[in-house]
């Protein structure tokens, strides 16, 4: 098995036209030209968009999850419809709806800058996914926990916020990280809202650079840039998870 795989790799390596690949994907002067904007604009914007979308989405998700588990039927119905709707739509469609649909529907109403519109759009989508994650986390906390808290005289809400949610969040750190990594990549959809030189995120920046340099190197660079963000992030979260695990 391994021998075949190794042979295949060697075969592909021999067959590949290395000088061409190097010329198209690893041009040093193109790489050099991409700095410092790659970091000062593109990576920075990706980070800002992601943080904003995640923060907004998380608040939204928490509200939706609580509504979804509420005893009030209209709350439950609203949360269910919302979640099904925005999980079902492609993020791109939601972004276009927010960016172009809203202004058409409400006579030029524009929700702030590209940054705000994009982040709200992604947050709306992420909120739907994370709401279900949070709900799953809450349901994974043993029943006895809320019984013990209620027996001490805590109200339903107090029990949720002091006893249940803190435990639920520990449980859902891995799926939330997943959601965050997905969001980082989804910020590449911001381009549909139109960009200015200062508002480009990594993918848009690379695509424009590919056109101007007539070379594919920016694609390689930006791929590495994404990994440079996601890999340390997952590492940090894994450490956080291990620390949280100490009390469980």
């Amino acid at each position: 098995m391994y021998v075949i795989a190794a042979l295949a790799v060697v075969g592909i390596a021999l067959a590949a036209d290395w000088p061409t690949i190097q010329r198209n994907f690893f041009q040093v002067d193109v790489i050099r030209e991409m700095f410092p904007e790659l970091v000062t604009i593109a990576a920075k914007n990706t980070a800002i968009y992601t943080t904003l979308s995640f923060a907004l989405g998380f608040v939204l998700a928490l509200a939706l999850a609580l509504m979804r588990m509420s005893t009030v039927a209209p709350f439950r119905a609203f949360a269910m419809i919302y979640i099904e709707l925005f999980r079902g739509l492609p993020a791109l469609v939601t972004l276009i709806l927010i960016g172009f649909g809203l202004p058409i529907a409400f006579d030029g109403f524009r929700l702030g800058s590209t940054m705000v519109r994009g982040s709200v759009g992604l947050a709306i989508v992420a909120g739907a996914y994370m709401a279900e994650t949070i709900r799953a986390g809450v349901e994974a906390v043993p029943r006895g926990q809320s019984e013990a808290a209620r027996s001490l005289g805590m109200s339903k809400n107090r029990t949720m916020f002091t006893i249940i949610l803190p435990q639920a969040f520990r449980i859902i750190i891995p799926p939330l990280t997943n959601e965050l990594v997905l969001l980082i990549k989804d910020t590449s959809l911001f381009f549909v809202l139109g960009t200015t030189p200062a508002s480009k995120e990594l993918t848009k920046f690379a695509r424009d650079f590919m056109v101007s340099s007539r070379n594919a190197t920016p694609l390689t660079v930006v791929a590495i840039a994404y990994l440079a963000i996601t890999l340390p992030l997952t590492y940090v979260v894994r450490r956080m998870e291990r620390n949280a695990g100490k009390s469980r």
Partner: protein
């Protein structure tokens, strides 16, 4: 609420801690409590025994409304808690509850487990809460564990912390739902010891248990339940040593041979 019930409750309100009248509880179509009449006086220790599925845990859980009864009344020191307008949260601060599975909060240290109810519910100051918590930890003999997380404690220690957590609320009475059933045999003794001390200090206690030794030594009264009714009750010497009903005789014989 019927007038009869009101009178019955007010007559004895002062010395009756828990009074249960004609209590019925259904889970779907299944009737698990079939008209329970029952009371616990102040300072009394009552052990409830009986086969599993007899409804003893359900009865206990109805008393602090972790389960909602279907019909009937429950009075806590004269207050009808089955009243839909009753303040359940306030009521629960007066009733300590100890669970089979301990149910300590795993994300909080032992000390925080003991203070969280005091500060958030009773609005005691942090200093006061910590002081009371330390006092209660000392009572259950676990002062040195105050900064540990529950996971680091043995089952017996966890249950003692759980008892201390309830005591911190300064409850008028304590309910125990099979407090030693989840413990390894060698850890049962330390928990029973704490409960015995509590009983000696005059705490009103209702204990669902399979520990016949504890029941016969500590209980003022033993209640035998089977299939949703109170079959027999009386002093431990009578119910445990000389049961009158056939069902109680059968149950005690089975336990003896276990």
């Amino acid at each position: 609420m019927s007038t009869d019930a009101t009178e019955a409750a007010t007559e004895t309100a002062s010395d009756v801690a828990i009074r249960v009248l004609e209590l019925h509880k259904y889970f779907g179509d299944l009737e698990v409590l079939k008209g329970i009449d029952f009371q616990v006086d102040h300072g009394e220790v009552v052990c409830v025994i009986g086969p599993s599925g007899s409804g003893k845990s359900t009865l206990l859980r109805c008393i602090n409304r972790l389960e909602e009864s279907t019909s009937g009344n429950i009075f806590i020191e004269g207050d009808d808690i089955t009243d839909p307008d009753a303040d359940v949260d306030l009521l629960r601060t007066r009733i300590g509850m100890v669970f089979q599975q301990f149910n300590l909060f795993p994300h909080l240290t032992v000390l925080r487990n003991l203070t969280v109810g005091q500060t958030k519910v009773l609005k005691r100051s942090k200093t006061e809460a910590v002081q009371i918590a330390e006092e209660m930890l000392e009572r259950v003999g676990l002062s040195e564990k105050r900064d540990e997380y529950p996971i680091r404690l043995s089952g017996g220690q966890q249950q003692r912390v759980a008892i201390a957590r309830s005591l911190c609320m300064k409850p008028d009475m304590m309910l125990f739902d099979e407090p030693t059933s989840a413990l390894d045999p060698e850890l049962v003794g330390e928990v029973l010891e704490v409960m015995r001390t509590l009983a000696d200090e005059g705490m009103t206690m209702m204990v669902v248990t399979h520990e016949m030794g504890f029941a016969s030594e500590v209980a003022d009264r033993v209640v035998f339940m089977d299939e949703g009714i109170v079959v027999e009750e009386g002093p431990p010497a009578q119910v445990l040593k000389d049961p009158q009903t056939e069902r109680a005789q059968k149950f005690l014989k089975m336990i003896d041979h276990a």
